[in-house]
Amino acid sequence: MVNWLSLVVPFAYLTILLGSLYTFSHLYRARKLSKAASLEPWFPPHLQRNIYLTLLHLDPSESGEGGPSKVPDSVLKAALLRRATEDIHRVLQVQNAKPALQSLLQRGSVGDDLWQRFLRAEKEIQEEIKDVVAEANAFAPGWGQLIFQTANEMAQNALLRKRVEEIQAQVTAEKEWWEKKKAGIQADFMKELDEDSKATQAVPTTGRGSDDDAVLVEGGGPTAAQQQGSMKKRKKGKN
């Protein structure tokens, strides 16, 4: 006769052990999944794509009489180009980041989450590019091969223009500084001149020397004017 009562204990032990292990693994995996699902996207929302898709799906019949009629193709094409330009930025970023991120991950300088987010972003951008190419081909066959070249040039141009603007933005500050400096130098020279003239009153023979100095001070004016002039010219040239 088996003593059932004494067998209860080991069976209870096994049940509790296996049950707790199962519960743990279940909870752990569920948490991991939910965490992976809630990972922040790498890139912010794709504004250009959203604009393009909104324009594409604008239905004139819905908006009634006062609403816009069908969006013209040129606008759609421009929106697609904008979207491609933004994609170029993202592709470049992904390309540059990949080797760096890989080595950092190996060294343990960044976490696994970041890598997951990155992989997702990479996949997303691949899909995005395919989509853009398909859309472009739908507008004009063969445009798909060219659209990213165009977009790249647009991106480069925008970058350059931004840099130029940054430099241009310094103009006022530089000008102010120069005016201040000029005034400072002038004041210094005038002071020196005053002292000199006092000295000349005492010793009249050195009078000629101080005149030369005065001429030099005047010389500062025209160069400043020239500089400003060239700056203006430059501004014109850039835009």
Binding site: D113, W177, G237
Partner: protein, 690 residues
């Protein structure tokens, strides 16, 4: 022949057992809890200074907080408990009476001496039989004797006698320790009996369950998740992720400070109280400053970035960082405290960012990271004057020294190079410094360890030329020349040479031995950084790296030096002007030619003491070097093995060579960009000519 397990009823053994186990845990814990940290920060000398900045109490409070954090209180508690337990066990051991098991000894029983021979034993036994045989001996009630006892005694004696005389019984005795042959024996378990006594079983089971089911998983989990939460650079993984995403190849110091504010650590510092004082911080840092347009030292771009941020922890952290850098008074004890607490955190994040910019390999963000580290340690905004490092130097004083319209800043070295009387005239005055303050500042300035490079060259150990793919040493010879040092002695030419280790000294040749073995421990530390506003002790470190200036890429990643091989200052604190040697190794490019690098030598603690110079690596064809060797006719067998090892080493080095990688990357989009900029400049000149 029975076996039985005895629990330790008298408590004789389990104290030994517990003592051993507890000792195994307690001793290492005690050692680690009370060992003085061997970090540079704990052993380095200090720069003498009696300068107390405003809110010195807050900064000191932060330092104390850090020290408390480092004090490992938990370990101390564990160690103390362990020692108490051990003391208790020792007490138990002393107190418990030991029952020494009697060893049956036939000589003792007979009262015979071990030196006796068989004959003598026999006669002794016969004598005993006369007195001790039960027939002869009457039980003596006075001695509490009974007939049984006497009988037993006699049996024992007979047994003992037989053991010593009978061959078979003797064998038994030798083999089993008893004349009757194998005896039953017992095994003691060093556990107290109450563990298995009826009724206690469930408690023991509960203890066991708690140990394996709760405490063990808890600690393993805590360790695992704790180690997963921080990266190698000891910043939170989330912060590292944020920093990585903020990375841009054209980052300035201001951008980096913006990036740093994304650190998750700030959430802990601010305890989520993001709104408290945000308006006040921004009002203060965006007010008009003495020297800069904004008091916090922000640029226009930085301000725009700050104002674009959502209200929240990050915005406040950024505001606090700028307030710290601009040394802006916030008029609120709590805010000021947070301001000083933010800086060390930001420095740790900067470290993490440095490793990221190394992974990308662009020079500009790396330089920005190093400069930000300087700025954070000295509490000086980016692009501000290095003179602010000196105590009591305010933007107003700096402006008086540098002149109203100066565009470039004077470094501390430049400042100290101004003739003394003129320097004093510019600095001392109403609204500026008093004479005493000036003297204190100059005294500090003349203690700063400014490293001046005397010579920098490439060499390959044991060869005259640098051959393709060889293991090149880049040697920097430099001297610590504190600003304002007069009568600096000329450099001894001999010091500038780098003598190879003796032939046959394989360790040195392979770079295993950096210097003499006894030197490795006696490396000289520079004094701690003079950083009165930074709420941590920081030992200055020097980073040397080679960059490709055309592509803005790092050619040879930084080597960091925190100690030197010769003393910097003598006992009276005067500089010794010893020539220090800094060495870094890397693999040479695989093709012959001239390679021009820009060497950056950057101190992470002091502003304006960086060195940037061009160095040229000339790689000669391997054939040329071989010719030279043939001329010299070296063909000893020993030499051959040495060369073989060197070659093997070189091959190793080529695998992780960087210069080649950098060259490979110079294709595609980069050149495109270049062409475009050229065409742009073309059109520019055209319009100018119009």
């Amino acid at each position: 022949m029975s076996q039985d397990y005895n629990y330790d009823e008298q408590g004789q053994f389990f104290p030994y057992f517990v003592l051993t186990i507890v000792g195994l845990i307690t001793l290492p814990t005690t050692y680690s809890a009370f060992r003085k940290g061997q970090d540079l920060e704990n052993t380095a000398p200090r720069i003498k200074s009696d300068f107390k900045p405003e809110h010195a109490d807050l900064i000191e409070g932060q330092r104390k907080k850090q020290r408390r954090r480092e004090r490992k209180l938990k370990r101390m508690v564990v160690a103390a408990a362990g020692w108490a337990l051990m003391a208790g066990m020792v007490y138990l051991i002393i107190v418990t009476a030991r029952t020494v098991p009697k060893i049956w000894d036939p000589y003792d029983v007979l009262g015979a001496s071990r030196s006796w021979d068989e004959k003598k034993i026999k006669s002794h036994y016969r004598k005993l039989s006369l007195t001790h045989h039960p027939d002869k001996r009457q039980p003596d009630p006075a001695k509490n004797e009974t007939a049984d006892l006497i009988n037993d005694e006699w049996v024992e004696m007979t047994k003992a006698f037989k053991t010593l005389t009978d061959e078979e019984v003797r064998n038994n005795y030798i083999q089993y320790g008893h004349p009757d042959g194998k005896q039953s024996f017992s095994i003691g378990i060093a556990l107290p009996k109450f563990i298995i006594t009826e009724g206690n079983g469930k408690y023991v089971l509960m203890l066991y369950g708690a140990l394996l089911g709760v405490i063990l998983p808890y600690f393993v989990g805590k360790w695992w998740y704790g180690s997963q939460k921080v990266t190698k650079e000891k910043v939170l993984v989330a912060s590292a992720g944020n920093l990585f995403r903020e990375y841009e190849s054209e980052m300035t110091e201001g951008d980096l400070i913006y990036a740093l504010s994304s650190g998750e650590e700030f959430k802990q510092i601010l305890h989520g109280k993001s709104d408290a004082g945000l308006a006040r911080i921004e009002q203060r840092i965006l007010a008009e400053g003495e020297a800069s347009p904004l008091a916090g030292g922000l640029g226009v771009k930085d301000r725009a970035k700050l104002q674009e941020l959502d209200e929240g922890v990050r915005r406040k952290a950024l505001g606090l960082l700028w307030a710290y850098l601009g040394r802006v008074e916030l008029d609120d004890q709590a805010l000021n405290d947070e301001k000083y607490e933010a800086a060390p955190t930001a420095l740790a994040l900067t470290d993490a960012f440095t490793s990221m910019s190394l992974a990308y390999g662009n020079t500009k963000p790396l330089l920005a990271a190093y400069h930000t580290s300087q700025n954070l340690i000295q509490a000086v905004p980016p692009r501000a004057s290095p003179l602010l490092q000196l105590p009591r130097f305010t933007p107003a004083v700096v402006r008086a020294v540098e002149g109203e319209t100066a565009r470039t800043h004077l470094t501390v070295q430049d400042f100290m190079r101004i003739p003394a009387d003129q320097r004093k005239k510019r600095t001392v005055g109403p609204g500026l410094l008093t004479e005493k303050e000036y003297n204190a500042a100059v005294q500090i300035a003349s203690q700063l360890p400014a490293l001046k490079v005397e010579k920098a060259f490439f060499k390959v150990v044991g060869e005259r030329f640098v051959t393709p793919s060889s293991l090149v040493q880049f040697v920097v010879k430099a001297r610590i020349i504190p600003p304002g040092s007069t009568n600096t002695p000329a450099v001894n030419e001999k010091d500038l040479e780098d003598v190879d280790a003796k032939e046959g000294d394989l360790d040195a040749l392979h770079g295993r031995k950096k210097n003499d073995p006894e030197d490795a421990e006696n490396r000289i530390q520079p004094p701690l950084a003079h950083a009165p506003f930074f709420a941590r002790d920081h030992s200055p470190r020097w980073h040397v790296f080679l960059a490709d200036s055309k592509q803005g890429k790092i050619a040879v990643p930084p080597f960091t030096f925190s100690t030197f091989d010769k003393p910097l200052f003598d006992e009276e604190g005067n500089p010794t002007f010893n020539v220090q040697t800094l060495k870094m190794q890397f693999g040479a490019p695989p093709h012959a030619g001239r390679y021009t690098f820009v060497m950056h030598l950057i101190c992470d603690s002091y502003i304006g003491m960086d060195t940037k110079m061009e160095v040229t690596l000339v790689v000669e064809e391997a054939s040329k070097a071989e010719e030279m060797e043939e001329d010299e006719e070296i063909s000893e067998p020993e030499e051959d093995t040495l060369m073989g090892q060197m070659n093997a080493l070189k091959k190793d080095a080529t695998a992780k060579k960087r210069p080649r990688r950098v060259e490979d990357e110079s294709s595609g989009s980069d050149t495109e960009g270049d062409e475009e900029t050229e065409s742009e400049t073309d059109t520019d000149t055209d319009t100018d000519e119009e």
